[in-house]
């Protein structure tokens, strides 16, 4: 049997969306048994290309070959019939059903009678084969994010995929879970599977990929580079199209007085379950303090409590020694907590830009004055000085390089990076004393990340206290003066000299003291 060298070949693929050429003459090939990384900034056309490969979109032009044979996919079902399956970034699972039920969902077999115990065994065996350990009887909602991802991979494998497309699979994982995933991926390639790994994280790509294809603005800027022949700097330049500085200018400076003091803070999440179980930390003027942790360990609740959006159930938050939230809070009940906190000089870059940080159908100007519309010069008595507001927005637009036709453009027409710059511009221009920055660079491309990080460092130099919440360890380490690690609503420890391994252990629930004592025992 003659086997073809390439599992997948895509030739001069062109796909156009209104106003954008998402893919332009893109060539891509995947060898059998390799891990091929597809690297590019947001909007570079990675997902579009893979959606074409998996039958979700149809290209305007170009051909796809699977095992040397020309194919035309009309739907994802066609693609999976040819052995191509995709694991999406956002899981598509039914939370109340078991792992087995989720894997079988939408298949023709079993037809009528569900012989679940038989399938439990089949799926369990399949998992064993690839090191994807997950209890087939467990309900999805009981599983961790990493385990849910395994279910998604099992779904694709069960459908007989030989080519797996993984869309940013590490975005939701803790460092240890990433290691496990990489282990699984390698064992799958040994079994003859081929993998396309979509990412914009250079370190991971360097760690896992055999070859790399870089996309920029819908075009291929490097095709099938051997990982061993390249380096991070070169890849970054190819992604962005210009030199990217990895070293940020961070001046050593002595932190000032305590701006934010949190003592034994407790709060509940949206479901009424305890989310913060006694958090204590402090942030001083002129320092950036990082808060590391896997998503969903209480970071959002902490930011909400500090900014007044969520009530505390115990403990307190002090800003400049004045109790703003919690016991001993001087504010009379029923007064507007959020507003009091804004007036105290606390700014907030929310995690959710489109649903919390901005108002999609209002203009750039209306979005820019969201925090400042109560004060002069924008407020004039009961009215808003429209021309001053527009001038102010015009100023922000040019100072922060926000790309929009006019200040009257609706916020929903802005791209993610521009919207984030608008929010940053608004939050920074109030010259905050304390800034709560939630995932300020998430989803931004390399160039934009650099700009945002520089702005945060500028604020630090100006003497602002910054609490930086992020899932990007590298970013936390390069920006922060100190890092706290949060796990299940508790602080696992505080560290000055951060190494990723130690942070990773703390992020999965080991206390700093325990790590330290282990180190002492070992030698």
């Amino acid at each position: 049997m003659e086997s073809h060298l390439y599992a997948v070949e895509m030739k001069s693929i062109t796909k156009e969306f209104p106003g954008v050429l998402a893919n332009q003459d893109v060539d891509f090939n995947l060898q059998k048994g390799e891990i091929h990384a597809l690297l590019g900034e947001n909007g570079a056309g990675k997902s579009t290309l893979m959606n074409i490969l998996t039958g979700l979109y149809r290209p305007e032009r170009g051909t796809i070959l699977v095992n040397g044979e020309v194919v035309e996919f009309r739907s994802p079902r066609d693609a999976i019939n040819h052995g191509i399956g995709m694991v999406h970034q956002h899981f598509m699972l039914v939370p109340t059903q078991s792992v087995t039920e989720n894997v079988l969902l939408g298949l023709d077999e079993p037809r009528f009678k569900l012989n679940l115990s038989h399938y439990h065994q089949v799926i369990s065996d399949l998992g064993e084969q690839y090191g994807l350990h997950v209890d087939p009887r467990a309900k999805i909602w009981q599983l961790s994010v990493g385990e849910q991802q395994r279910v998604e991979i099992l779904k694709v494998l069960y459908r007989g995929a030989t080519v797996l497309v993984l869309d940013e699979p590490t975005a939701v994982l803790a460092p240890q879970e990433i290691d496990e995933l990489f282990h699984t991926l390698r064992s799958m390639t040994k079994e003859g599977k081929s993998i396309i790994f979509i990412s914009h994280k250079l370190d991971e790509v360097m760690a896992i990929a055999d070859r790399i294809t870089v996309l920029r603005k819908g075009k291929v800027s490097a095709a099938g580079l051997e990982t061993s022949t390249t380096n991070k700097q070169e890849l970054a330049n190819m992604m962005v199209g210009r030199e990217v500085l990895f070293r940020l200018e961070k001046v050593e400076q002595e932190p000032g007085e305590v701006v934010l003091g949190i003592e034994d803070l407790q709060a509940e999440n949206d479901k009424g379950l305890p989310a913060l179980r006694g958090i204590s930390l402090e942030v001083r003027a002129g320092e950036i303090v990082g808060l590391a942790g896997v998503a969903g360990n209480g970071q959002r609740e902490l930011a909400d409590v500090i900014t007044g959006l969520r009530p505390a159930t115990g403990g307190c938050v002090r800003v400049y020694g004045q109790v703003l939230v919690g016991e001993g809070c001087q504010e009379p009940r029923g007064s507007n907590m959020v507003r009091t906190i804004i007036d105290a000089g606390v700014s907030h870059i929310p995690e959710d830009r489109t649903h919390v940080g901005s108002s999609p159908n209002l203009s750039l100007t209306d979005n820019a004055i969201m925090k400042g519309y109560r004060q002069a010069p924008i407020a004039r008595g009961w009215s808003i000085d429209h021309s001053t507001a527009r001038e102010y927005t015009q100023g922000l637009k040019s100072a922060y390089d926000i790309m929009a036709p006019t200040v009257d453009t609706l916020a929903r027409l802005l791209s993610g990076g521009n919207l984030q710059r608008l929010i940053l511009a608004r939050e920074i221009s109030s010259e905050p004393r304390l800034m709560i920055a939630m995932q300020p660079t998430r989803g931004l491309d390399v160039g934009a990340i650099e700009g945002v990080q520089r702005l945060l460092l500028e604020q630090r130099a100006n003497g602002a206290a910054i609490l930086l919440v992020s899932e990007e360890l590298e970013e936390l380490i390069s920006l922060s003066d100190r890092i706290y690690v949060i796990y299940e609503g508790r602080i696992m420890g505080e560290t000055r000299k951060a190494d990723p391994g130690m942070l990773g252990q703390m992020m999965t629930g080991t206390r700093l003291e325990d790590i330290a004592s282990n180190h002492e025992v070992r030698p």
Partner: protein, 375 residues
């Protein structure tokens, strides 16, 4: 010529439609598309007229004449438009915050009651100067309307009770409340109406000036129209130039962002419902003081509900409310003049459907592309 695009043997239409979202909306687009929708509605209505054996051009001509044909009917149209402007503004301000106040009808009735109470209780004797009587009635109408808005607003803000249900139900209460007073308390000799108000409680009409300007003889347009025009400008100013209006627009578009900006949503919910109720109450006051001159059962042919439609058609723009209300005032008037009287209602319905459907064209662009060109 290349065969790539035509390799399939099956015949295909050489062009196809593509629907694409519009990235920009030029300012004139909205006006052109709306006008086009009205024209299309008239054409559809004309076809229906032809089918039932009428002459569409004559019918339209007659309707236009009945609504806008001479000074007299224009004045009548404006009289009809007056309450429409005010109730539509009531809907606009509430809808802007996504508060679905569909109780303008009830607030209209209760405002009429409040204004009547000043005259009939009587809080002020009939001999009071109009300079005191009219402002007192305006205040009474607006305050009672505001109270009618306050109740669902408070329930919504504090207990999250659905305002659609409460405002709708309160319409019935308002009508029944009025009926009680019309039948039992202020009834004139057992008829279903109160005695006529003294002249001092009448809003001045154009015809009152006929001794100076003879052309105004018999014209019914009254001071309420001025109330409506002022209210339109005030509502516009509140929405686009005031801090409060900014809060309303922000809450309406994204309540989570509003909370994040430190805006008090509870208080604004109550206040906006009260303003909305006050505007509808003012409409009720203007109608009985300017037109009916007494409180009776049939003071509204569903103004409150027509106001919802007008608010929607004006895309919640307070200034656009005025011309659209005049158009609807004309349609109501034409409905009385021509047979069958359902015809203007039919036209109204078709116009509404066309305008709402035309919104699609505002947001999307339809392009005709050639298949050959694509290949």
């Amino acid at each position: 010529m290349s065969l790539v695009g035509t390799s399939r043997s099956k015949f295909k239409f050489p062009y196809r439609f593509r629907v694409e979202p519009r990235l920009k909306q030029p300012g004139w687009l909205s006006a052109v598309i709306s006008l086009g929708a009205v024209v299309l509605a008239l054409i559809i209505g004309g076809v229906i007229l032809l089918i039932v054996g009428g002459n569409p051009l004559r019918a339209y001509g007659f309707m236009a004449k009945a609504a806008f044909g001479d000074l007299g009917v224009i004045s009548d149209t404006l009289t009809k438009a007056t309450p429409l402007i005010l109730v539509s503004l009531a809907a606009v301000i509430a809808f802007r915050m996504r508060l679905w106040n569909i109780g303008a009808e009830g607030q209209f009735f209760i405002g009429a009651f409040g204004a009547s109470a000043v005259v009939l209780t009587p809080l002020l004797p009939p001999t009071t100067s109009p300079w005191l009587m009219i402002p007192a009635m305006v205040i009474a109408g607006m305050v009672t309307g505001a109270i009618w808005g306050f109740i669902p607003g408070f329930l919504k803000a504090r207990l999250n009770v659905n305002e659609i249900i409460t405002t709708l139900m309160m319409n019935y209460i308002a009508v029944a409340w009025n009926n009680f007073f019309i039948f039992a308390v202020w009834s004139e000799g057992g008829f279903q109406m109160t005695p006529q108000f003294p002249k001092s409680a009448w809003l001045p009409r154009l015809t009152d000036l006929s001794s100076q300007i003879p052309a105004f003889r018999g014209l019914t347009t009254h001071l309420g129209l001025v109330f409506g025009l002022i209210a339109a400008v005030v509502v516009w100013w509140i929405l686009y130039r005031s801090r409060w209006g900014y809060e309303i627009r922000l809450i309406g578009d994204n309540p989570r962002a509003a909370r994040y900006a430190g805006i008090n949503i509870v208080r604004n919910t109550v206040l906006v419902m009260m303003l909305s109720g006050a505007l509808a109450g003012l409409a009720g006051m203007a109608e009985i003081s300017g037109v009916v001159h007494r409180l009776q059962g049939a003071i509204s042919p569903g103004y409150g509900f027509t106001g919802i439609i007008i608010a929607w058609l004006s895309k919640l723009n307070p200034l656009l409310v005025v011309p659209i209300s005049v158009l609807f005032g004309g349609l109501i008037l034409a409905g009385r003049e021509i047979q069958p009287s359902g015809l203007p209602m039919l036209i109204q319905g078709i116009i509404l459907v066309c305008l709402i459907a035309s919104d699609f064209l505002l947001r999307y662009r339809v392009r005709l592309t050639s298949r050959v060109e694509e290949a």
